[in-house]
Structure formats: structure tokens, C-alpha cells
Symmetry: C2
Subunit: 405 residues, 2 copies
């Protein structure tokens, strides 16, 4: 009898959790499991702001996929997914076609620039290991160039971060630590460096507890971050950004580095494959399947789920992606066993911690507000927990965040 | 009675040796000694190829001037020299004017591009700490960008070094070590990276022993360096260099990094001050004074001396600059003591060692040919000796080149 083929696309939080749960719950004879990923490593998307700022080496934010999959049960194919033929039940990759009976779509999100002119060309995004390395090196190159150029362009040292959501704020927190180090490395006065955050909405970290938000803003301002809130970016260009001031006016902020950390949309492969979507995200059924596709599950940033309490979508977080992975794996196992009733996914929100750099953070954990080193400790525990969920204690030991005093 | 004012311009090998010798030989009452330098640190020009390649941190190639001068005898002014008014006996700096009775000109050399189109705009030079840091970061940024760009431009990873003299060859030797590290850091195949040396003369290291030259070339070729000898660079531009092939043909070598390591001339301040010169170098008298100026000494790369044995100028080396500093100090002391007969300078050439990267080098030391780790050891001893001459054993201990096994 032909074994059913399960194909998982993407080795992010959602995909990898699905695969590691499947390999626990299925025997070799139950199914053929294939994991397809562009790189041979998983990276911690939620740690990329550290690699981008240069406060954590990029090798610390990734681990080899072969470290966490069971090769006797899972085939790994390093390939880039190009399209999905849902009728023919085939995935098209740059390494050839792969057939599936069950598909788990976990390719994550993509940056969304909302059509703002010049962002694609002139702004970096904190998207993956490659882009994080490039941001780190770009900033460092600006400092090196500044020190060696005859006519000093101070604006070369300015960094504009578009977006005061999680990624933008956490990145600014890391820069608060990194900039003094860079100034020391290149003999540059700290006062020459501007850190500017531009955000269209009137507040930072929308949706977060106001008291904690106030703490975060004050701490970042102390470390030299300027905020321009309620201020959309109108354009990015070679020399910086134009921001809206009042009704018709624009103001120029010159900057050698622009990082766009504001928008996330789903994967463009969703659109290409013709699966029903909203900005490339699939509003999944309660069992995580794509509407109209009883053999396609979507987990992580390309899935869309409404939090009915507030009638707004759940944010695209690692926490939810991992929980989805667990449910997705159970549901595939149930389908293989011929069950018709599948598990409904409900997020179990344990809390959220936003890092503000070394030994500082804000967090709401199990309903409790935390700031400073307590929150920072919790952040590290959250990060370590993600490692634990996928790779057990040995992965925490290899890649975990600890300080040895 | 007014104390005579001795002003030393530049804290390179020649200037710093002059000052440290003067402070030993003169008492506080003998003279006012002022050292003027752009930076508050000295850097080892002969180690800059390592900082440029990124194999040695730039803080290892510099030390604070205050570590080696005696503040009770020497005033240090951090300033950029802009001109010298020899009639008025004044030095013009960006921090004001400084009067002198005796002047030691030791501002070093500048890069010479021989009017080759585009070199000034598109090529880096290994000139100082700032330019070395920029080269290091530029190369690293090219690697980071390559890995993050959608359409890979392989030429981004190519490095063209113009010049196969000492600096060019030593820099290529370091790159031979550094490139594999960078490839590992950015997940890039070593085969994608080209190291190209373009030299107008038909051989590398002109003037060096042919047997050693052959060894050097073979070793560098083994580590992936391509040589284009007898091949002048015609033009540098945004995408690379054009090199001469045969009579009328040119060939393009695309490269993300161009380093010009071929020409050295004297200081443009010499020309500005109207002191008689050849390509900004002063053909000094045997006592190291500038012709027609009995109170101006010129040492180091801005001085020109003919080796009468071969009727060619001595090369601009640290060894000669330091020896000149010693003679220059003695001669100033003699003048202060009213002596008319000054010491004639004769270089004491102990040998030359050219590094080829980690644990490899070629050298001719006291007439003996050395290669490999023996030569490499000698090179480190030469480097340590320079530290010893200026700052004694404590400076060797702080900044010396050792390996602790």
C-alpha cells in the first residue's frame, strides 16, 4: 500500500514544530514526511533584530535543521518553493517537483511596504539571516566610511527605523547598546549619531499596556532615540526619508541607513497558487486548513485568525506559530487515522515580552506587568522555551541565552 | 633666556623616534619640544595591510602617543598641519599657528595615482587606520550584500589589488587567510571569490631576490591569487578596472573592491610650503636638512636619499625612517650645543622581510635567505623591534606580536 505523503514547506517556528511533532507521533510506516526549506538551517526570526544590530552573532540565531529532525522519518529537501499546483497536488521548487497528499504551508511572511515610494530600493528589512548580516555590515561600513572621508557627512551615521511595533522597538533597543560600541570602535563621538524612529500611528507598540509603553519610550529616549509618532514615511530615497508634517508639509530626515520594520504580509506563493487570501494571508478554518482545501494546512505568519474578543487578527508571533504547529501535526495524524473530527485551534496567550536591549525589557506575562531586568530575564526564558519546544534540552544548551557570571 | 623651540611634525616612525631620542638627550631647560600629529595615536604603517584585510584588529596596530612621550619634556598638540611659513618660522595648523626654531618634517608619504583615471574615486588605499578600517568593512559589506541580493553578482566578491610591491603582496597574503574566514562567515563558496593582482612591471616585489620572489608568487598562487604582470591599470571605474593587454587592447576585470597599493609620493605640505622637492619628497643633505634650510630636517617618506651603490633612491621604509629619526635628534642636540659639524646619515640595512600571511614570509636578513615560518618569525621580530626602539620593553609587551601556545 502506498504511504501518504506529507510535505511541510518552511522550517520556521510553525513548520519545524509541525515536523518535530509529526516525527514523534508517526512511525516510519505511517507516512512519508518531507520538509522543504530554502536554507539548511532554521533561524530565530524573533532574534534577528539582535543579529541586525550586531549585538548577537548570526550563528547564534540559527541552528542546523539536521540537528532537530529524525532523518529516518523525515526527508529534508533544501530548495526554494516557487509555486503550488493544488489540483495536481504538487509543489514546484527550484530543485524539481514534489508530490503531496497533505501539505503544510509554513513559509512565513514577507515585508509589506504599502506602496511607499523608494522603500523597496532604499530600505533594509529585518527578514532573515542574510538581510540581518547585511544591515549589520551596512551600519558598520557607514561608520568606517565616515571616519575615512575628508568631508564628514554626519547624516551617514543617522539610522532611521520605520515602524514602532515589536521589531522596530526591539531593534532600537539593541542599537542603544551597539552604537556606543561602534563609536568606540571607529573613534566617533556618540553625539554625532542619530537614532530616529518614524511611526505612522500615534503611539509605539500599539495594543501593549500603556504604562509599559511609557516605560519603554522613556528608556529608549534616555538612550538617544528620537520618536516621530503619528508621522508616516512618504518616501525613501538615496539620502534618507521624507516624513509627513501636518497636512501638506514634508520634512526630510537624512540618514545613511533606513530600516523598514513596519509591515508584514503573507507569502506571495499563496497568491501565486491561487489560494483564497487577504494580503497573502489565508483566513484559515478553525482546524487550520485553507478554505476549500481539505488537505492544505496553513500555519504561522501566512495564516490569518481573528481574535473574536476584540474582533481583530491575532498578531503574527512565534508563540502562535508554534502552537499552530502542534495542532496541525495532531490534525494530520487524525486524518491519517481516518478521523473526521479535527481539533480546533485556540491560541493560549501566555504573554508578551518586548526587549529594550541588554538587561532591559517590558512584558506582560500571565497577566503580570514586568520591566527592567526581570522582564529581560523572562524574554530570555521565552527564547529558550522556543528552543526547548523544537529541540529539547540539548538545543537549549547549544543555542540558549544564558549569562554565566 | 628664551629656550629654543623644536617642533616635530608627525608621529610616524621617523617623527616619534626623533621625539623619543630628543627627550632622552635633552633636559627640560635645554629646549621646548612640541610634537604635532593629526591623531592622538601612532600607528604601524607596516602593519596596516593586516588591519585592512581584517586579520588584525586596528587597535592592535596603534598605540597612544601619550604612552611613549615624556609629558614634562614634550608638548603634544593634536592638530592637522596645513602649511609651513619657512620665512616666518611658523607652522599653520587647524588649531592655530606654532612657531619653531628647529623643525622636523616627518609627515610621511601620500598615495600616488600617476594620473590613472578613476583611481582616486574608485580605489581604496592602505594609508592609515581610518582607510584600513574602511577597506576591511567594505570587503565584509560586499560579502554580506552578495548573500542577501536576489540576483547574485559574483564580481562583487572580486578584489583587485593594484601593485605587486611590498604593500600589495603583504595585503594579498593576508587576504589569502581572510577570504576563507569570510566565506565561512557568510556561507559563500570560496571558488566564487577572485583575488587579482595587477602590476605594470613584469615581476612582483621588484628588487627582491629572484628565488624568494618565485617562492612568494607560487605560495600566493596556491592560495588563489591571479597575477597580471607587465599589465598597467588603464582606468578604474564603478564596476572594476580596465587593464592593458598587448598594444591597444584593454580587458575589463569586474570587481567590487579595488585597492591601489602601488605608488607613494611625499607630503603635499612640502609642495605647499615651497620647499624644493621631487614629487613632494625632499632630496635631503647628508645631515638630513632640507637644501637651503639650515633649521629644517626631513625624515621618513618625505625625504629622498640616493643609494649611490645602485644610483637609485632608497625605498621609503620604517627601518630607514627610524634610523633617520635617531640621526636627526643627535643633529638637533649638536646644533643646540653650538656645534657646526653634523652627523652624516648612512642607512644600516639589516634586511627585509615580506609577509605572505599567517606563518609564511620571505626575507633576506643579514644576507641570509629565509622562507616560511622562519621568515615569518623574523618578520614578527622586526615588528617587535620597532616597538622596542620607540617605547622600550613595556610597549613590546603591550602591542608586540607573540603567539602563546
Amino acid at each position: 500500500m502506498r504511504k501518504p505523503k506529507i510535505v511541510v514547506l518552511g522550517a520556521g517556528y510553525g513548520g519545524l514544530m509541525t515536523v518535530t511533532r509529526l516525527q514523534k507521533q508517526l512511525s516510519v510506516n505511517d507516512a512519508d514526511i518531507t520538509l522543504i526549506n530554502k536554507n539548511d538551517y532554521h533561524y530565530e526570526t524573533t532574534w534577528l533584530h539582535e543579529a541586525s544590530a550586531g549585538t548577537l552573532h548570526h550563528d547564534r540565531v540559527r541552528y542546523s535543521i539536521s540537528d532537530v529532525i529524525n532523518r529516518s522519518k523525515v526527508d529534508f529537501l533544501q530548495a526554494t518553493v516557487e509555486d503550488i499546483k493544488t489540483d495536481a497536488k504538487k509543489v514546484i521548487t527550484d530543485q524539481g517537483e514534489v508530490e503531496y497528499d497533505y501539505l503544510v504551508f509554513a513559509l512565513g511572511g514577507e515585508s509589506e511596504t504599502f506602496g511607499i515610494q523608494g522603500l523597496k530600493e532604499y530600505a533594509f528589512t529585518i527578514s532573515n539571516v542574510n538581510s540581518a548580516r547585511q544591515i549589520r555590515e551596512h551600519i558598520e561600513y557607514q561608520f568606517a566610511t565616515y571616519k575615512n572621508e575628508e568631508e564628514k557627512k554626519d547624516e551617514r551615521l543617522s539610522i532611521v527605523v520605520g515602524g514602532a511595533g515589536f521589531t522596530g522597538i526591539e531593534f532600537l533597543g539593541e542599537l542603544g547598546n551597539r552604537i556606543p560600541e561602534l563609536c568606540h570602535e571607529y573613534d566617533i563621538d556618540r553625539q554625532k549619531v542619530r537614532l530616529v524612529c518614524v511611526e505612522a500611528s500615534p503611539m509605539i507598540l500599539p495594543g501593549f499596556d500603556p504604562e509599559l509603553v511609557k516605560y519603554a519610550r522613556a528608556k529608549l529616549e534616555q538612550r538617544g532615540v528620537e520618536f516621530h509618532l503619528g508621522t508616516p514615511i512618504k518616501e525613501a530615497n538615496e539620502t534618507g526619508v521624507l516624513i509627513a508634517k501636518g497636512e501638506d508639509e514634508v520634512e526630510e530626515i537624512k540618514a545613511g541607513t533606513i530600516v523598514w520594520a513596519a509591515g508584514v504580509r503573507g507569502s506571495s506563493i499563496i497568491e501565486k497558487a491561487g489560494i483564497e487570501n487577504m494580503r497573502a494571508r489565508v483566513k484559515v478554518e478553525k482546524d487550520l486548513r485553507a478554505p476549500g482545501h481539505n488537505n492544505i494546512f496553513v500555519v504561522g505568519d501566512s495564516s490569518l485568525m481573528i481574535n473574536e474578543e476584540i474582533n481583530r487578527p491575532y498578531p503574527p508571533t512565534a508563540q502562535i506559530a508554534m502552537q499552530q504547529g502542534e495542532t496541525c501535526a495532531s490534525n494530520i495524524v487524525a486524518l491519517l487515522h481516518g478521523k473526521e473530527e479535527l481539533e480546533e485551534f485556540t491560541p493560549d496567550l501566555k504573554g508578551t515580552v518586548c526587549s529594550l536591549g541588554e538587561d532591559d525589557a517590558i512584558g506582560l506575562v500571565f497577566g503580570k506587568k514586568l520591566t527592567g531586568s526581570q522582564a529581560s530575564f523572562m524574554k530570555k526564558m521565552v527564547d529558550n522555551r522556543a528552543l526547548y519546544m523544537v529541540g529539547g534540552p540539548s538545543l537549549v544548551f547549544k543555542k540558549g541565552k544564558f549569562k554565566f557570571f
